[in-house]
């Protein structure tokens, strides 16, 4: 026994871990849900699909839509028919060709599979016609400005039709540069290089291993020890440690998502709270929040102040709606105008360190003008349920952000939208947002979003506090790391330095 134990100890103390140089180890914040692009829900799921499931389109770092499995495409004059020519050298991991029939089968699966979460993204499709082996025409019911953007994400990812029945149960077969090798829930998702991929030469790792590591300290320690090559979303407080370490690199780009609060404008009894009844009180609250302090204290300078649903990474962003510094005197005046010396309300939020710190700061800042905010942290599942049921005065409001502005605005503030838990409804604003959905011209859409924002600034159904940056820590031994505003890792061109 003694001998065994000694040899175990000896073996442990000698030699480093036997990780092959051809492995890329990436840590994510959470474990993804179901590995089927048509059914998946989570942001980390999108990260994992990235290397495995090529989509019809992709984005570049400036959020322009670029072709991926599509070679070229064109719109009809009335912008209702999208004709796509596919690459003729793309294969699924099972060796079958990515052809027009496969595209049609996938889009139909996204539309018709009962548990599909892509229905809303593909809802504008009227018909799909396969014109040739590599040519497909999609006819839309009406022009849909967000349609191409949706096809850059899970709605446009192609799964081999032969694996439709097994995709969600660990048998995902896609057409990306890496294929699924193994998944151990809560531990790792292992992908192996797909040598027959049309761009295989640009992918330099034999295996890519995604590991869910929720704790930021543990993620960082594993990066420092060399067990990991890339970590996503390091804590802002760890930024200094990464930057001070010569063997590591810190990377940040503006993201598309935001955090703030939304008000219960019409979802049950709680909408009767004065803060939800009088826009002057919400404006007063808005004036008490110093976004720069939130940025400095919570984000260590990485949380850009937010005043609107679009970050500066989006073309719909308009600096006109930014600013309005902190003004406690004006806030007090507004409260007096509304007939209140002090206003009490509760903020409901999901219990985690980041949100706890955010709302404690908000609570303290707002108290200076006479707001008496009570905080109600609950665990995530309860938070989701309470919001749906209207059991809140104001609640945490966050979105991971979409490439097309529609996904950041319409889904949360248009009348009856699925994400509009506060049941805010302004017909004029909804009408503008609906109009912006069916026009492809960016200038015209931007004008509509500007008009809609003017209404939102008056009504204030929500306040935006900061944009979520896309941050990364990675080994200085990596070459060719490029970060994207959508926070999804793209491995093309990424390689070890030596």
């Amino acid at each position: 026994m003694k001998k065994i134990v000694m040899s175990v100890m000896l073996a442990a103390m000698t030699g480093a871990s036997a990780v092959s140089a051809a492995d890329l180890n990436v840590a994510m914040q959470d474990d993804p849900d179901i590995l089927d692009p048509h059914r998946g829900n989570t942001f980390v799921g999108r990260m994992v699909f990235g290397p495995m499931c090529d989509a019809l389109f992709d984005i570049d770092t400036a959020l322009n839509i670029v072709p991926r499995l599509v070679a070229d495409w064109s719109w009809s004059d009335d912008e209702t028919v999208l004709t796509m020519n596919l690459r003729d050298d793309a294969l699924f991991h099972d060796g079958t060709k990515v052809d027009g029939e496969a595209v049609k089968a996938n889009l139909e699966r996204g539309l018709n599979l009962p548990e599909s979460n892509r229905k809303a993204e593909l809802a504008s499709i009227a018909s799909i016609d396969v014109l040739g082996e590599t040519q497909v025409a999609i006819t839309l019911k009406a022009p849909d400005a967000a349609f191409l953007a949706n096809l850059t994400d899970r709605a446009g990812m192609l799964v081999s039709p032969a694996s439709f029945d097994t995709a969600g149960e660990g048998g995902l077969v896609c057409a990306g540069p890496y294929k699924l090798a193994e998944r151990v829930q809560n531990d790792r998702i292992v992908m192996e290089k797909f040598d027959d991929h049309w761009e295989a030469d640009n992918y330099h790792f034999d295996r890519v291993i995604y590991r869910p590591i929720p704790d930021t300290t543990v993620r960082l320690a594993n990066l420092q020890s060399g067990d990991l090559d890339i970590i996503e979303r390091p804590a802002p407080s760890d930024m200094a440690a990464i930057e001070a370490d010569d063997s590591l690199v810190f990377d940040i780009v503006s993201g598309l998502g935001f955090y703030g609060i939304n008000f219960n404008m019409g979802n049950g009894e709680r909408s009767q709270n004065p803060i939800n009844q009088d826009a002057r009180l919400r404006e007063a609250l808005n004036l008490t929040i110093d976004r720069n302090v939130l940025n400095d204290v919570l984000g260590m300078g990485t949380y850009p102040p937010a005043y609107q649903p679009f970050s500066s990474a989006s073309w719909a962003y308009n600096p006109e709606f930014d600013g309005g510094g902190r003004d406690i005197e004006r806030a007090k005046e507004l409260m007096a105008e509304a007939g209140h010396e002090s206003v009490s309300f509760e903020i409901l939020y999901a219990n985690n360190t980041a949100m706890q710190s955010l709302f404690e700061l908000v609570q303290a800042m707002a108290s200076e003008a006479g707001f008496n905010i009570s905080l109600r942290p609950t665990e995530f599942a309860a938070y989701v349920a309470e919001r749906e049921e209207g059991k809140f005065d104001a609640s945490q409001f966050g979105a991971s952000g979409r490439i097309d502005p529609d996904g950041n605005f319409h889904r949360y503030l248009a009348c009856g939208s699925a994400g509009n838990v506060g049941h805010y409804c302004n017909d004029e604003l909804t009408d503008l947002l609906n109009q912006a959905r069916v026009i492809n011209n960016v200038e015209e859409r931007k004008a509509l979003y500007d008009q809609a924002q003017r209404i939102a600034v008056e009504d204030l159904p929500a306040l935006y506090f900061y944009y979520t940056p896309r941050t990364w820590g990675y080994s200085a031994n990596l070459d060719g790391f490029v970060s994207y505003p959508d926070g999804v890792l793209r491995l093309s061109g990424l390689k070890p330095k030596n």
């Binding site: 134990v5 175990v8 073996a11 442990a12 103390m13 000698t14 480093a16 871990s17 036997a18 474990d31 993804p32 849900d33 179901i34 590995l35 089927d36 059914r39 829900n41 989570t42 009962p114 548990e115 599909s116 979460n117 229905k119 809303a120 969600g168 149960e169 660990g170 998944r183 151990v184 829930q185 809560n186 531990d187 790792r188 590991r211 590591i213 929720p214 704790d215 300290t217 543990v218 320690a221 594993n222 420092q224 020890s225 060399g226 067990d227 609950t378 665990e379 995530f380 599942a381 309860a382 938070y383 989701v384 349920a385 309470e386 749906e388 979105a399 991971s400 699925a418 994400g419």
Partner: protein
């Protein structure tokens, strides 16, 4: 023939005991299954809504609720679940779609390896330390062993874990900071990756074992038969190991098997820090996402494991203490 009779007798006694204990365990399991099922349903929050979060499409939510029978009355849901479990089907994870049986089978070797390594480490330290402390009662050795045991019980696992990662993985780079390598894939790397987590887990267990060994040994060492053994002129080592320890082991075996059962149920913090995909983290994540099937399956499975450990403890009693083979 005459000499084999007691063996046969004791075998029959063990068998009888096991059967009796299994029969007693059945109602426990039934009550437990109701509790596991019911407690989760008392929590606020809906599994499908939680899973959908940003994506919430009412139509899809309804389809999924139907698919997972969440719209059925609770007793019907319970009976459907029990019916499937009796046929060996624990259902599928709501979140990942993977079969719960497959998830359990993936995690089981990991949890068993971690628990076994932690238990071996704890026993190697805790029992000898307890014996030494008892033999040298009120000496420096006793005080030191007690102090170490107290700190083993008091040091938080997450703190010790992070400190160990910083020293052994980040600074010295002699051990991997995290992760699990299957023992079948690379034996030494597997042992190596489990050393730190097993050590962290073993600290509290070793402390409990040390304290219990010490008090059990103290009471045995003051017995008449030990004095007799010493009076016979036996070597001190023989008296302690053969006469005292064997009798003192009874309560220690009970404790060790119960602690092992505890370890098998998972160690949330240690698993979290060392990113070990064991039962603990699985259950906690599943509770937070309201992944009913996973929570029910894993808790039921570990409960069965715990009951099995209790039966094992009873069997070990009989092996250690021949008097128990003759109930009369």
């Amino acid at each position: 023939m005459v000499r084999r009779l007691p063996v046969q007798e004791s075998f029959a006694a063990v068998l009888k005991l096991i059967v009796r204990r299994i029969l007693v365990a059945l109602p426990t399991l039934i009550i437990l299954s109701v509790i596991i099922f019911g407690l989760q349903r008392l929590l606020p929050g809906d599994p499908i809504q939680t899973m959908m979060a940003e994506q919430s499409d009412p139509e899809v939510i309804e389809i999924l609720r139907e698919k997972y029978r969440l719209n059925d009355p609770l007793p019907i849901q319970y009976l459907a679940w029990v019916g499937n479990v009796l046929q060996g089907d624990f259902g599928s994870s709501l979140r990942t779609g993977l079969p719960v049986t497959e998830i359990i089978l993936q995690k089981l070797p990991i949890t068993v390896q971690l628990a076994t390594m932690a238990m071996i480490m704890a026993m190697m330290v805790g029992i000898p330390a307890g014996i030494l402390a008892a033999v040298h009662k009120n000496s420096m050795i006793d005080y030191a062993a007690n102090a170490v045991a107290l700190s083993g019980m008091s040091v938080p696992n997450f703190w010790l874990g992070i400190i160990m990662i910083m020293i052994f993985a980040v600074s010295w780079k002699v051990l991997p900071a995290s992760g699990y390598v299957p023992i079948t894939q690379d034996f030494w790397l597997s042992i190596k990756s489990m050393l730190m987590p097993a050590f962290v887990l073993s600290t509290a267990v070793a402390a409990y074992l040390m304290r219990h060994t010490r008090s059990a040994m103290l009471s045995v060492l003051s017995s008449d038969y030990i004095r007799t053994a010493r009076a016979k002129g036996l070597l001190s080592k023989t008296v302690i190991i053969r006469h005292a320890l064997r009798n003192a082991l009874m309560p220690i075996v009970t404790l060790a098997t119960l602690l092992f059962g505890d370890l098998l149920a998972g160690a949330v913090l240690t698993e979290q820090i060392f990113v070990i995909p064991g039962f603990g983290k699985l259950i906690v994540d599943a509770v937070f996402t309201r992944d009913y099937a996973v929570v029910q399956g894993v808790v039921l499975f570990t409960a069965i494991g715990f009951i099995a450990m209790n039966i094992l403890a009873d069997v070990l009693y009989i092996v250690i203490n021949p008097r128990l083979r003759h109930p009369q």
